[in-house]
């Protein structure tokens, strides 16, 4: 963190126990439930007190709640921001009180956080494209048209996935004939896929930047009498349980796994270092980014990942 404060040797709230505040994007999603578990487990392992705040997918709640954690005297703040670009006022307050801020996932929004743990979203998109091209070839299809279903336009992390996918798949000689938003929602993903199929019945693959839409798209493919592995290679992102189940049952070709629990643990490690004022090591020092690797999961390896 910044060393402008003459912070006492102990911590903000006067007692010896370190208090960590964790502000989470939305506890209604399994992804973030796992992130919370990973963060909490690592923090309690260190003997820290853990305070949780749920942003409930609302930037106003995000700012209010994270600032409240700082007011309550946490020693360090970990945050997976609903809106990365709304980190500014939170970090301003944290700086004023000498509280280091570690960002988890989603993005940093250009504010001066201490570190950010981030999945390689663009890299994940690339993995998806590589797999798709390979699988299309393995299926013996010659079609060169593919489609992409995107999240809501404001989701920066999701845009990176799509960008990574698009760049790679085009490099492999495919054309993205449809690029439509399902606003991150399963219901809309299903409908959008139906429309894509009506216009381009010949698409060879479809990439979706989250799993609810990916699995929904796979369902739409099945409902059109086609196979989401063999006919239209359907790939999602996240490795949500429904995607894993679907892959096992040949209902989805692949997904890109992030490991939210590991990311959570990593943020605690960085928080600890920041509190101890040890220098942090970054994968991308300019953006103070620490990468958490992503992994492609398909039928081949689905049983080997936990």
């Amino acid at each position: 963190g910044c060393s402008d404060s003459n912070a006492p040797s102990g911590n903000q709230n006067g007692s010896d126990q370190v208090v960590v505040g964790f502000s989470v994007y939305d506890m209604q999603y399994e992804f973030f439930q796992k992130m919370e578990q990973g963060t909490r487990a690592a923090a309690t392992a260190k003997g820290w007190e853990f305070k949780l705040h749920d942003e409930k997918s609302d930037e106003n709640e995000m700012v209010t709640g994270a600032q409240a954690l700082i007011d309550q005297g946490v020693d360090v703040l970990i945050i997976s921001p609903f809106k990365p670009s709304a980190l500014g006022p939170i970090i301003a307050k944290a700086k004023a009180k000498g509280v280091p801020v570690i960002v988890d996932d989603i993005g940093g929004g250009g504010a001066p956080y201490d570190a950010i743990v981030i999945s390689d979203n663009a890299g994940g998109g690339k993995l998806a494209a590589e797999f798709m091209a390979k699988q299309i070839a393995a299926n013996g299809k010659t079609g060169k048209n593919v489609a992409s279903i995107t999240c809501e336009p404001s989701a920066v992390y999701a845009a990176r996935r799509n960008a990574g996918f698009k760049a790679e798949i085009e490099k492999q000689g495919f054309k993205v004939v449809a690029e439509l938003s399902g606003n991150s929602k399963a219901e809309e993903g299903y409908k959008v896929m139906k429309d894509i199929l009506a216009k381009n019945p010949d698409v060879a693959g479809v990439f979706s930047c989250n799993d609810p839409m990916g699995v929904a798209a796979a369902n739409a493919v099945k409902d059109a009498g086609k196979d989401p592995v063999k006919d239209i290679v359907t790939v999602g992102f996240n490795a949500d349980p429904e995607a894993i189940t679907a892959i096992k049952g040949d209902g989805l070709a692949a997904t890109v796994a992030q490991d939210p629990a590991a990311m959570g643990a990593l943020t605690v490690k960085l928080a600890d270092q920041a509190l101890a004022k040890t220098a942090l090591t970054f994968d991308n020092a300019a953006e103070r980014e620490v990468y958490n690797p992503v992994q492609l999961i398909s039928k081949e390896n689905v049983d080997t990942v936990k």
Binding site: Y29, E152, K191, D195, I196, A216, T245
Partner: protein, 320 residues
């Protein structure tokens, strides 16, 4: 023809949209796509028809989107727990009816305004659905559930069959039965309905139960498509259901209802949405187009109404 247009003013914008899309795309008028649009329209039309009764009565039900979610979670959980799919669907519909009953009782017996009562149920039922599913998907693989959207009796997709039956029944109930007339009577002048001795509270409760059941049915259709239930599904659906009714011509203040208008409203909305997807419209422009088309569809009606107003009827307009 002009008489038909006057009674169903939405036909004109609908035809216009169809013509534009037929010219602008080469896939709009394919069989697969038309079926695609009609199925999507059928799926909103069914709850839209129930909502038509609610609006005709001069009231709203905002809780329907949450009912969609809870019904799906309940149905899928029941299937996972080993219930036969038809039983699970029955339970889900019963849950929908219970939500409707709760709405109806809170509104009629506790005197809470429908807007707040159903907004509260929206929040509560969403909470129940999330708490019950703990944010997890309830994934099923059920042929019987799938039949709701995938079945093809006589070659016709099941949602279309359901919508046709619901439209016929809705039209009959609204325009030819005492229940429908009482609904419009309540929407037209609630005080008069009370003074005339109509069973106002019973009718209102019945309408909320109807919407609850239809909301659950909507949830089953969505869960049938997705083969899962979860706490996130159906968010914002209340506005979708109300929108098809309102653009279909049912008065927001009640008293008048257009069952066929609701169906046309559903077809128009889904046609626009499908067309924008066929044209590969980026999401920002999709939003703008949907908004402008909504306004345009109703502006055409509005202009016609303004023309009609320059030839005034003898009696002063009723105060509404």
């Amino acid at each position: 023809m002009t008489a038909v247009l006057r009674r169903l003013p939405l036909l004109l914008p609908l035809l216009g949209t169809v013509v534009v899309l037929a010219v602008a795309t080469d896939s709009f008028l394919t069989g697969a796509n038309i079926e695609n649009v009609l199925v999507a329209a059928a799926i909103v039309a069914v709850p839209g028809l129930a909502m038509t009764f609610c609006l005709a009565m001069g009231e709203f039900d905002l809780s329907i989107g949450s009912t969609v979610s809870l019904a799906g979670v309940v149905c899928c959980s029941a299937i996972i727990a080993g219930q036969p799919a038809p039983v699970a669907m029955g339970i889900a519909l019963a849950v929908g009816a219970a939500i409707g009953l709760a709405n109806g009782m809170v509104i009629t017996k506790l005197g809470v305004t429908p807007f707040i009562a159903t907004l509260a149920t929206l929040v509560i039922v969403r909470g129940l659905s999330l708490a019950y599913s703990d944010g997890h998907d309830r994934i099923v693989s059920s042929a019987a559930l799938k039949y709701l959207v995938g079945g093809r009796p006589l070659g016709v997709p099941m949602p279309i069959v359901l919508a046709v039956v619901a439209t016929a029944a809705g039209w009959w109930a609204m325009n030819r039965t005492r229940f429908g007339r009482w609904v419009c009577a309540i929407g037209s002048n609630r005080e008069a309905a009370r003074v005339s001795g109509l069973p106002v509270d019973r009718v209102r409760i019945a309408v909320y139960v109807l919407v609850g059941v239809a909301g659950a049915g909507w949830g089953l259709l969505i869960s049938s498509q997705l083969q899962k239930g979860n706490g996130q599904l159906g968010m914002g659906f209340e506005l979708d259901a109300i929108t098809v009714v309102v653009i279909g011509g049912t008065a927001l203040l009640g008293g008048r209802a257009s069952i066929v208008g609701t169906v046309l409203g559903a077809v128009l909305i889904e046609t626009i949405r499908n067309g924008l997807n066929l044209l590969n419209t980026p999401p920002a422009y999709q939003r703008i187009s949907v908004g402008l088309l909504l306004i345009a569809a109703l502006a055409i009606k509005g202009i016609r109404r303004a023309e009609a107003r320059t030839m005034p009827v003898p009696a002063p307009e009723a105060a509404r």
